[in-house]
């Protein structure tokens, strides 16, 4: 009874919050950030909180009404020993700061929170960007997670904590609906905190993704604010949308909590591509430094590149038969070379075994290779650092071009939502990797008005070179509408095509050969869907000032129709966001053939 009277007394003597003050406080950017209110950044639920979990709100209508939530929070958190303080420490500290509450140990009774808080370091925050890797096109968009270090110059970051927002797929792995659900909000998204070393194992070792670590300019106070709010988000569900409300968007929201005045999320963000998150932070001068962490695949390649052709062959043979370490042939090499050869073989062994169950034979081979490395003189190999991902061209593209086809001049206008084809300005991208989405070409000729030339919904090519140590598959898939020769017409046909094959690296040339299967629907072929098979053979060259691609492809249809073409393409980067593309092609089909020459000016933007 006394406690109730005391509490009521304290509540009344504290300066009453007038209605206007309440409204102002409810619209404080820090409060809205703490509630994860959508202020127009994305399309879902503008004017309400992104959080779908009712346990996150104290007021009934807290999700839609920031002021009501503020009122309810105030009433619930102000009393001494309020248990809800332990649930919402960041909110308490916000109110305490704004309303000059002067309790010295407000969380003394919150043992779980205090215990957790002690473990999470707050000296430095680092944005980690696992870059793309070949054979996983969707990884081209990258990912972002946050790392929290215990010191501004840590000796080892393995024990730092990694904060990751992703879809919670527990118990639902391997579902075919995986992709759809990830894209359309079918999975709940939540934050998890794990030791950073497990993320290194996952991204660098298992998935062969380079990792870029960007140190952020955040004070310890700001990082503490972020961590306190993170506690509030424990086990809280967001809807996960691959395009806009994804890992990067949520991290930006957290940074908005840490630095409320910075307005990190401003304006409308159609899609949050992780690499653009890095660019946003760079524009806000929040990035202090950048560290490159090569993937295991890149380290293997660097060791292999340091060996001559004969030495590589020796490494390959040593990998298959480790007893060769005792052979005269192997011992003829210098101690430094022996170390390198054994190390290249060891790296290749690890690479090959990483997704398999433990094999006694592999472990025994590994041991021999390790002992050989140890017995010989260590030789360091520098891994070359590629261009950082944020230095790459923008994710969207428009282009204007013109040329001649079948003796008729034409002009072409093009818009591509995303992202990069085989020749687009290479810095910041992997060679041989292409992912294009929503690519529309409009053409106008001397006699015709503007017509749709093609619309690619998706066009992915993954050309991964095979060598003595790694043997990946190359593949492609494409679907959309395009103008194709059908009898004597040039019709806009609907199609899906795809196939798999191989690619190699011979010096500066990257040749490839793929089988192709095509399903087409057009206005002239009798069956609703006509099928055809064929192949694509080509080669790529990536030089600094210019990039080249030549290819020939052909499809033979079940109805005895066929088409084949030969193409040569050249890309000339002008600067980061601009380039010129010259393309020549010769198309043949049963009834005729035609030639086309086109020059395009491409402009990339975000």
């Amino acid at each position: 009874m006394l406690k109730i009277l005391l509490t009521t007394f304290l509540l009344t003597i504290c300066a009453p919050l007038w209605a206007d003050d309440m409204k102002a406080l409810a619209n404080d950017p820090e409060w809205l950030a703490l509630l994860h209110f959508n202020q127009g950044a994305t399309l879902h639920g503008i004017g309400e909180s992104y959080i779908d979990d009712s346990s996150f709100f104290i007021a009934e209508n807290g999700k839609e009404n920031a002021q009501a939530e503020l009122q309810a929070t105030l009433s619930a958190l102000q009393p001494l020993d309020s248990s809800l303080r332990c649930r919402f420490p960041a909110r308490y500290l916000f109110l305490a700061r704004k309303l000059a509450w002067t309790e010295s140990s407000p969380f003394a009774h919150c043992t779980e929170y205090l215990e957790w808080r002690k473990q999470i370091p707050s000296a430095r925050a680092v944005l980690v960007f696992p870059a793309s890797y070949l054979n996983s096109p969707s990884s081209m968009f990258g990912h972002t997670l946050l790392r929290l270090d215990a010191s501004t110059t840590p000796d080892s970051v393995w024990s730092s904590w990694a904060l990751n927002f992703g879809a919670d797929i527990r118990g639902q792995d391997n579902s075919i609906l995986y992709i759809w659900r990830g894209l359309a909000g079918g999975y709940p998204g939540r934050f998890t905190v794990v030791p950073y070393v497990t993320k290194i194992q996952e991204y660098s070792n298992m998935e062969n993704r380079d990792m870029w670590e960007y140190g952020l300019r955040l004070s310890e106070e700001e990082i503490t604010r972020l961590i306190n709010h993170l506690w509030e988000l424990r086990d809280t569900n967001f809807n996960y949308y691959f395009f806009d409300e994804n890992c990067s968007f949520r991290l930006l929201e957290l940074l908005d909590v840490a630095k409320p005045g910075a307005h990190i999320i401003e304006g409308f963000r159609l899609a949050e591509v992780p690499v653009n998150t890095v660019r946003t932070l760079e524009d806000k001068h929040l990035i202090a430094d950048r560290v490159y962490r090569p993937s295991r695949a890149v380290e293997l390649q660097a060791d292999v590149d340091a060996l001559s052709l004969g030495e590589r062959r020796m490494a390959r043979r040593l990998l298959e038969n480790p007893s060769l370490a005792q052979s005269q042939e192997f011992l003829a090499y210098t101690p430094e070379k022996r170390h390198l050869i054994a190390r290249a073989a060891w790296r290749a062994l690890r690479f090959g075994q990483r997704k398999k169950d433990r094999s006694e034979e592999a472990a025994a081979s590994g041991m021999v290779l390790l002992r050989t490395m140890q017995a010989n003189t260590t030789q360091a190999v520098t891994v070359p650092e590629p261009a950082a991902p944020e230095k790459g061209h923008g994710t969207q593209m428009i282009s204007i071009g013109g040329g001649q086809r079948a003796s008729q001049g034409f002009g072409e206008l093009r818009y591509r939502l995303t992202y990069h084809d085989l020749l687009d300005n290479p810095p910041g991208f992997l060679h041989g990797a292409q992912i294009e989405g929503l690519d529309a070409h409009l053409r106008t000729t001397e006699s015709d008005q503007l017509k749709l030339e093609s619309l690619d919904l998706i066009h992915i090519r993954s050309l991964s070179p095979r060598n003595a140590f790694v043997k990946p598959l190359s593949w492609f898939i494409q679907t959309g509408l395009e103008r194709a020769p059908v009898y004597h017409e040039r019709q806009l046909v609907r199609f899906v095509q795809g196939g798999a094959g191989f690619s190699w690296q011979w010096g500066a040339m990257q040749p490839y050969a793929l089988t192709a299967l095509r399903l087409e629907n057009n206005d002239s072929y009798k069956p609703f869907i006509e099928g055809g098979g064929g192949a694509i053979v080509g080669a790529l060259w990536y030089f600094s000032p210019v990039q080249l691609h030549v290819s020939t492809e052909g499809i033979y249809f079940a109805n005895d129709e066929y088409r084949y073409s030969t193409q040569a393409e050249m890309n000339v980067p002008l600067n980061r966001q601009n380039g010129l593309r010259l393309q020549w092609r010769q198309d043949y089909w049963r009834d005729d053939h035609s030639q086309e020459l086109k020059l395009e000016w491409r402009h990339y933007f975000d």
Binding site: S138, V197, D357
Partner: protein, 160 residues
């Protein structure tokens, strides 16, 4: 017949011990061995659309220690660095080479001061075969071997 049976039982027993996690219950990872890969992960093409954390997603909480021994300097957060999948061969590689991030992380987690790390790396490198005795060595055995090697070294013995 009896001899054969005893032999069979003792072999069974020894293999059981070799695979059991010690000290502590299962999940502590002390039984981890070299080159134990991770099979059965979801298809990566699909996984990158969600970037989620499957399996036991944690929140940095070490709710108890799952019965794992927290004694000794090689444990942190209830689980040994060596027990994390993939780490044992990283440490083995770094010891064979004489330096590296895994070796540094190990010495940091063991509380070895910065000025002693070069010496620590050198001693580990020289004693590689004593620490990684065979391809069947477990994380727990490696931890014990590291301690034994350190004890024999004048400077490092003081740091145990």
């Amino acid at each position: 017949m009896m001899k054969k049976m005893i032999l069979a039982v003792s072999l069974l027993g020894s293999s059981f011990v070799a695979y059991a996690d010690a000290p502590g219950g299962p999940g502590c990872g002390w039984g981890n061995m070299l080159l134990k890969g991770q099979s059965g992960l979801p298809m990566h093409f699909l996984a990158t659309t969600t970037n989620g954390t499957s399996g036991n997603a944690t929140f940095g909480m070490t709710t108890g220690t799952n019965g794992c021994s927290t004694s000794g300097k090689l444990t942190y957060n209830g689980k040994s660095l060596l027990a994390i999948n993939g780490v044992l061969e990283e440490v083995a590689q770094d010891m064979a080479v004489g330096q590296g991030e895994a070796l540094t992380a190990l010495s940091v987690s063991m509380g070895i001061p910065a000025e002693d790390r070069t010496h620590f790396n050198a001693v580990m490198h020289q004693n590689f075969s004593t620490i990684f005795t065979s391809e069947k060595v477990t994380a727990g055995e490696v931890a014990d071997n590291i301690t034994a090697v350190m004890q024999k070294d004048e400077k490092l013995a003081k740091l145990i």
